[in-house]
């Protein structure tokens, strides 16, 4: 049992020390969610446990459906949402893969729901530690996909997710990612705003249609191929709208609750820096620490933290590529036969860039391998030094081999060495 202590601020705000998973549960409760359907999976389990506890003890007026699988979890969440109830589910890794079919179905239905994804490696072998391959695997499905850096942001993003997904310009479901164990099971102080203030800020649920005896709505029967095509086009337009909505919600949340993150990305000394790291999730904190040390040493370096993978922050990345001398991508995931996900996405913005920066794509931390601030420091410093010494290059697949294996395996794969721009 984790200790929780309370401290009441002047404006009714409560500061609690919470794990990331408890922060999720508190946000779900604060959003007055009506139906929760979830299935336990490490490291998500304490979310469903905490919500069950809150519901059973009357702290939260909701119905909990203790489903028999994640496939059913999202189906039940969608069912409740289609009836008109604000609903929530949470999962991780294999659970997310099992529900993948329903992930697509929910987005296609244009029914807003919110889901926490506690990021975790995919087996085999079994591994319960942090990895981003599970969450990025949903990238094509039509969900808005966000990922937090710390427990406070977990709370804030989860609350904002209801606002964003239920916005009539969007009407898409939304994932809030939080890193397994690093956030999910680690305590940190979380400000929980006053419920009245939350109620004022978060409007009653809005959705494009409900399936009720009165509405007569039929969702999902056959459609002409041309209509199907246009429905897909409509999801993409909603994604574009979502960029505006995310930014507005971030601003407004900042005004009302005092915390603003920057919208699709967080720019940590990234404006005007010659070198930048692009990274997502909890280890961004370590990258920032390394960057601060490097800045003390006189390096011009910053961090662009990707908060939203979908919609992808095209504008922000284009600007970063246009203004940086070198960009270091740190991916905790790999598309086998391709490259890291952040790098792959960002390279789609290169044609819009007015500049061709040096690029290195680092694959690190898969399966929860720890990468500390000192390693980020080394990775960044060596990248900058190499560029300064030898000129710009493209090095998209740099495997940051775990310490115990270092020297035994190549960091640059055959076919993906380091390509100097001068050679072209």
């Amino acid at each position: 049992m984790l200790l929780t202590w309370f401290q009441r601020g002047d404006d009714g705000m409560v500061v609690k020390t919470l794990t990331g998973n408890k922060a999720v549960a508190h946000a779900v409760k604060a959003a007055r969610v009506k139906v929760v359907a979830a299935y336990p999976i490490t490291p998500q389990t304490t979310i469903v446990e905490t919500l069950a506890d809150m519901i059973e003890h009357g702290e939260m007026n909701a119905k909990m459906i203790r489903v028999e699988s994640e496939h059913s979890a999202l189906a039940a969440t969608l069912g409740a949402a289609a009836a008109g109830a604000r609903s929530f589910t949470a999962t991780s890794s294999h659970g997310l893969l099992l529900m993948h079919e329903v992930v697509w179905w929910t987005a296609g239905a244009r029914i807003p729901v919110v889901m926490s994804v506690v990021t975790r490696a995919i087996g085999p072998p079994w591994n319960i530690h942090v990895d981003h391959n599970d969450i990025w695997d949903q990238r094509d499905s039509g969900w808005i996909i966000s990922i937090a850096e710390n427990n406070q942001e977990v709370f804030d993003l989860t609350l904002q997710a209801f606002r964003i997904s239920e916005d009539p310009r969007v009407y898409l479901p939304m994932i809030v990612g939080l890193d397994g164990f690093i956030l999910s099971h680690t305590v940190a102080p979380v400000d929980i705003p006053d419920q009245e203030k939350i109620d004022q800020w978060l409007p009653p649920r809005r959705q494009p249609y409900v399936i009720t005896p009165e509405s007569g709505v039929v969702m999902g029967n056959l459609a002409a191929d041309e209509d199907y095509y246009m429905m897909r086009y409509s999801i993409q337009t909603a994604m574009v709208e979502a960029k505006k909505v995310i930014s507005e919600v971030d601003d407004e949340y900042g005004e009302v609750f005092g915390r603003k993150y920057g919208g699709l990305v967080e720019c940590f000394h990234c404006d005007g820096s010659k070198y930048n790291i692009v990274i997502a999730g909890s280890w961004s904190g370590d990258a920032k620490e390394a960057v601060l040390k490097l800045r003390d040493e006189g390096y011009s370096v910053g961090v662009l933290r990707v908060r939203y993978f979908r919609p992808w922050p095209d504008e922000e990345i284009r600007r970063l590529l246009s203004t940086s001398k070198g960009v270091l991508f740190i991916d905790r995931s790999i598309s086998f036969g391709g490259k890291g996900h952040l790098l792959t996405e960002a390279m789609t913005n290169l044609a819009e860039s007015t500049n061709l920066p040096a690029v290195r794509g680092v694959i690190a931390g898969l399966g929860g391998v720890d990468v500390g601030a000192d390693e980020f420091y080394e990775l960044t410093k060596s990248f900058i030094d190499e560029v300064e010494e030898n000129g710009p290059f493209y090095d998209p697949l740099y495997w940051h081999i775990p310490q115990v294996y270092r020297g035994k395996y190549p960091e640059r794969l055959p076919g993906y060495g380091k390509f100097s721009y001068e050679r072209r």
Binding site: K34, V35, A37, N61, A62, K63, I65, R66, V67, E68, S69, H71, S72, A73, A75, A76, T77, L78, G79, A80, A81, A82, A83, G84, A85, S87, E101, V102, W105, I211, T212, P213, S215, G216, V217, V218, M219, G220, N221, L222, A223, A224, D227
Partner: protein, 311 residues
Amino acid sequence: MPVKLRDFPRTHFNMPGNAACPGCPETMGLRYVKMALGDKAVLVIPAGCSSVIQGISPKSGINFPILNIVFAAAASAAAGMKAGFEMLGRDDVQVVVWAGDGGTADIGLQAMSGAAERGDDIIYICVDNEAYMNTGIQRSGATPYGAWTTTTWTGKKEHKKNVPFIMIAHDVPYVATASVGYPQDFIEKLRKAATVKGFKYIHLHAPCPVGWRFDPGLTPEIAQLAVKTGMWPLFEYHNGKLKISSFSRLYRVKEKRVPLKEYLKLQGRFRHLKDSDVKILEEYIDRLWAWLDLLEKAPNPSGTARDLLGK
């Protein structure tokens, strides 16, 4: 409560001009669901013939609001809908799953078992045409022994999975079998199920002219023959008590049953059966009735074990 045909209003119970094949038992069944439950029901339909029968957007050929859902998730989506309605103060809405035998006996069994075990307050109807008809007549767990399908070219070697018995074993408050050959019986059972709180399961036998290879005009007759030969016994299991329904009562006695061959000979899917195969099916029927007999006699002083738990 007998069903009087004249009392029904002159409205559409199903939408004509839908995509069902001529003589389709599913559209027959859907009309009876509408006759029984009226305008207070919403359907949840997983992949199957009924996904297609609705026809093409923006119209739908089934006269209900519908949440179409992926194949394996009908019961869970329905459980979610019911929970949503309850939380919004709408206890009046009947959430009804309309799933085929594939979506029930096979790919959807896990989700249904979960919903039954949780006691979700929904009506689950399995419309059983005894194969995966929508994908082109492949065998399912509910295909009977001997039947030709496009994945059992020489006839299925295994017997039909008995889903109603599986649901009885779940100790749910209401389980019934029905047939499109006996609409009044089906309607009565639906109306009864609608008054019961908890998970209700109705298994509707639905002879398919395309997949079973018979004249589309014969759908009701073949459905009735399944009952009269004892192959498809109609029964009701309510609060722990099993009762053979009136249309099947006569066929409890083996000698009163119509010879099985009368049922088999009308269907192309059984054309290749040898006498030894027919004997295997007859033994299946005897065993089925022996089980029913046992269940009927099983002492059950105070409803289901669920009742004893005070649920």
